[in-house]
């Protein structure tokens, strides 16, 4: 059973400024998407999933990080739905989750790595904990 939350759906619509109910399922976003084959859920699917409130599946989907933010879907959507902005809202939602993706000061020495930008560690440290 997939967890469905219309509250969550409204949150994503608010954050992205997108009304996903305007979608008419033409598939133009998926037809346009250069990263289509990399994704588990495709652009037209995640628009539909937001409408249906199936946010949890999306938050754990790798599509979220495969989207190139090229905005071709935003440019070409005939309904002004802006799927890339939905992706951005989902990313932000995941990153802002209370207590998640947070590292304590003690974790930092173990993570230090020449290749990891220092800014990434600092920002993870500053994330919302309470």
């Amino acid at each position: 059973m997939v967890h469905k939350s219309l509250e969550q759906a409204c949150l994503i619509m608010d954050r992205s400024g997108v009304d996903t109910r305007k979608c008419m399922m033409c598939g133009k976003c998926s037809a346009t998407c250069p990263a289509f084959d990399e994704m588990d859920y495709h652009p037209h699917q995640f628009v539909k999933m937001v409408t249906e409130g199936d946010i949890e599946s999306l938050l754990s989907s790798k599509s979220l990080w495969k989207c190139l933010s090229c905005f071709a879907c935003v440019e070409r959507c005939p309904r002004g739905v802006e799927p890339a902005n939905v992706v951005e809202a989902l990313r932000v939602t995941l990153l802002r989750r209370q207590g998640e993706n947070y590292i304590t000061a003690d974790d930092i020495p173990g993570l230090l790595d020449d290749k990891l930008p220092q800014q990434a560690i600092v920002s993870a440290f500053r994330k919302y904990k309470k």
Binding site: A31, T32, F36, H44, P78
Partner: protein, 661 residues
């Protein structure tokens, strides 16, 4: 003092569920002038009307107020009721306690209080009402049809058939419109020209029909029954009465680089031209911008060639003024421009074409003689991809928000015809929804799939690009949940349609209302679909909304029936609620004359007797036959001389006072 009766309608539960009608009755009884008040379930019913009639007689009522639905619904009904009981119909006022009250309120107490206020306002107005008598105006027994496509042709033929004279104004050099450009028509696949051109010939042969081609409506004045229209007949530089349409001039004309509009610009035409073989009138015209004679003064070959001496380089635009009783808008449509849809390569690649262009390519009189060829290299294509909804159902600002309605069917037709004639050609159709309501329409589409093997793929095309000399379509198959990358030789775009660019200007000339998409608005979307809210203006064809040929022809006949009904009348009753000027108050400033949209006000020098002082003054005078009672003059008049019968300033102020009490 008036004796007023107030009749409060329940409208079943529409009003009574939200408004305490008994309380309204009790409340209005205390108002000055009210002699009788009652309520009833359905005041518009036979029984309800009897209550009103009996009350008028029994209580000698001099005016009535009906608290019911909108006056748009039943004002005429109750005016007739009053008249039948011997009361002047303009002594009736409606208090709209349904649309303006019960339907928009939830709280019964609030709604009841508002209904009482609305009733009181109407009572206050009736106290000042005076009996009015309708005037008469004449009807010019001639109709004007603007647009000579299938809509205009059918409307004109039907009006002419009934015995009335009708003129068609067409902006192109020939009538026929879009239907003349089509190859076959769905769902019967009969040849478009074969069914249209006999009708065009009928138009030319009908003595009740006068054709003004290559002409445009410049100005419209007047009102229902009495329109005065200025038509500009553009110079053809060819005498219509002499030209025999032999086409010899076209074969000699050295200026051959004009875009052939009839073939959607897919090939070139000469500067002197007849759009197509069956053109009506079959008369050439000269495109002055392209003609060498007009550009350099030299040439004149057509003049030398013409054995009928029909060429006249000195011809001038002609202005024609005519009177009409009714006007029909039949201005049709154009496919939208595709310059905002770069992803389909329409403006860059000659093998990406619109559906209308494909019609011309498939047509025997078209640029390829009816053979399906790629426009880039004139080679046979091996696969054709159709894309539906290009610019339709689009709220992004690039296209049109509505469904263009005809594309699903013509795309099925195109796909079927190609598969029938060239079984080696693979045909893919990308669609969002297949919309085929209509007699034998869905069966037609299924035949394309089941009998002709057309591949229908649910999904849109993201982009079209060129790779190694051929076209590639990147699309999605939503059912298989796969992205597709297909090689193709031709792409056909089912382009959205929009009303003709001329519709907006014409609508403002005719004071006909128009919607945000420039479609002309009907008087009622269901019950009066072929009339404009402006009296005497009728709608035929796509100018009112997207429709196919069968629907257009039906609507054309319906519009003609309405026109005939109007022209059959010898007199029209005019609205007595017209403006009049108090000559003692008028200061002769001319403000009202300037704002009047109907040209109903003029100024005269008149001797007036102002409390014993006799002098000649310049005063406003209203032509009651022209006045439409809009009230623009009354609010403009700085001295308060202008007033509107039935809506006098005193009446309006009495209503306001009653509401604010």
């Amino acid at each position: 003092m008036q004796k007023i009766g107030v009749f409060v309608c329940w409208c079943g539960s529409n009003i009574a569920a939200t408004v305490d009608v008994a309380e309204v009755v009790q409340a209005v009884k205390t108002q000055p002038g009210v002699a009788f008040a009652t309520d009833y379930q359905y005041m518009c019913s036979e029984a309800g009307q009897s209550i009103i009639k009996n009350a008028i007689k029994e209580h000698d009522l001099t005016g009535i107020v009906v608290c019911s639905c909108s006056p748009r619904m039943h004002e005429a009904t109750f005016r007739k009721t009053a008249q039948a009981a011997g009361l002047n119909p303009y002594m009736v006022e409606i208090a709209n306690i349904r649309e303006h009250c019960s339907w928009i309120h939830k709280d019964k107490n609030e709604a009841t209080q508002k209904a009482i206020i609305l009733a009181n306002a109407a009572v206050a107005k009736v106290n000042l009402n005076a009996p009015l008598v309708q005037g008469e105006s004449s009807v010019t027994k001639r109709a004007l049809v603007i647009g000579g496509g299938i809509a205009g042709i059918q409307t004109a033929l039907d009006i002419a058939e009934a015995g009335y004279e009708v003129d068609i104004v067409e902006k192109e050099p020939t009538i026929g419109g879009k239907m003349a450009q089509l190859d076959k028509t769905f769902p019967t696949l009969d040849c478009s020209a074969c069914i249209l051109t006999p009708k065009m010939v009928d138009v030319a042969a009908n003595e009740n029909i006068t054709l003004y081609t290559y002409s445009e409506v410049e100005q419209v004045k007047g009102f229902v029954g009495n329109f005065s229209v200025t038509i500009k007949k553009k110079a053809r530089y060819v005498k219509e009465d002499l030209c025999t349409g032999c086409g010899e001039c076209m074969s000699k004309c050295p200026s051959k680089k004009g875009k052939d509009e009839f073939n959607c610009g897919l090939n070139n035409r000469t500067a002197i031209n007849i759009p197509f073989a069956q053109a009506i009138p079959n008369v050439a015209y000269i495109d002055a911008e392209q003609c060498i004679k007009f550009k350099t003064g030299k040439c004149g070959l057509c003049e030398k060639t013409c054995s009928a001496n029909a060429i006249d380089y000195n011809q001038k635009d002609e202005i024609i003024e005519r009177e009409y009783g009714a006007i029909v808008m039949a201005t049709g449509y154009e496919p939208i421009k595709l310059d905002k849809f770069d992803e389909y390569q329409y403006s860059k690649h000659p093998d990406v074409i619109t559906s209308l262009e494909l019609e011309r390519i498939m047509n025997a009189a078209g640029p390829t003689g009816g053979t399906l060829l790629k426009m880039s290299d004139k080679e046979h294509p091996h696969s054709v991809t159709f894309i539906q909804c290009v610019g339709s159902r689009d709220i992004s600002g690039r296209g049109k928000p509505y469904c263009s309605k005809i594309c699903c069917m013509y795309t099925a037709k195109h796909a079927m015809l190609i598969r029938d004639k060239y079984p080696d050609v693979e045909v893919n159709v990308f669609y969002i929804d297949v919309r085929t309501p209509g007699k034998n329409f869905d069966e037609f589409y299924r035949r394309a799939v089941e009998e002709y093997g057309v591949n229908y793929i649910k999904g849109q095309v993201g982009k079209v690009y060129e790779k190694d000399g051929h076209l590639v379509v990147q699309a999605v198959d939503l059912i298989a949940n796969k992205q597709l990358v297909l090689d193709t030789d031709m792409v056909v775009l089912a382009t959205a349609i929009e009303p003709s660019k001329t519709a907006r200007d014409l609508a403002s000339m005719l004071t006909a209302s128009i919607d945000t998409n420039d479609f002309i608005t009907e008087a009622h979307p269901k019950l009066r679909p072929v009339e404009s809210p402006t009296a005497g203006i009728f709608l035929s064809g796509v100018c009112q909304g997207p429709k196919d040929i069968p629907e257009t022809v039906s609507q054309a006949g319906a519009a003609a029936a309405k026109v005939i009904g109007l022209l059959a009348k010898d007199k029209l009753l005019t609205n007595p609620c017209v403006a009049h000027s108090d000559e003692l108050l008028c200061n002769g400033c001319s403000q009202c004359e300037k704002v009047c949209p109907y040209g109903a006000i003029s100024y005269i020098d008149k001797e007036v007797n102002d409390h014993g002082v006799r002098e000649t003054r310049r005063v406003a005078q209203v032509n009651e036959a022209l006045c439409q009672g809009c009230g623009a003059c009354t609010v403009t008049c700085p001295s308060g001389a202008m007033d509107l019968k039935g809506f006098t300033n005193r009446q309006i102020m009495a209503e306001v006072d009653a509401i604010c009490k």
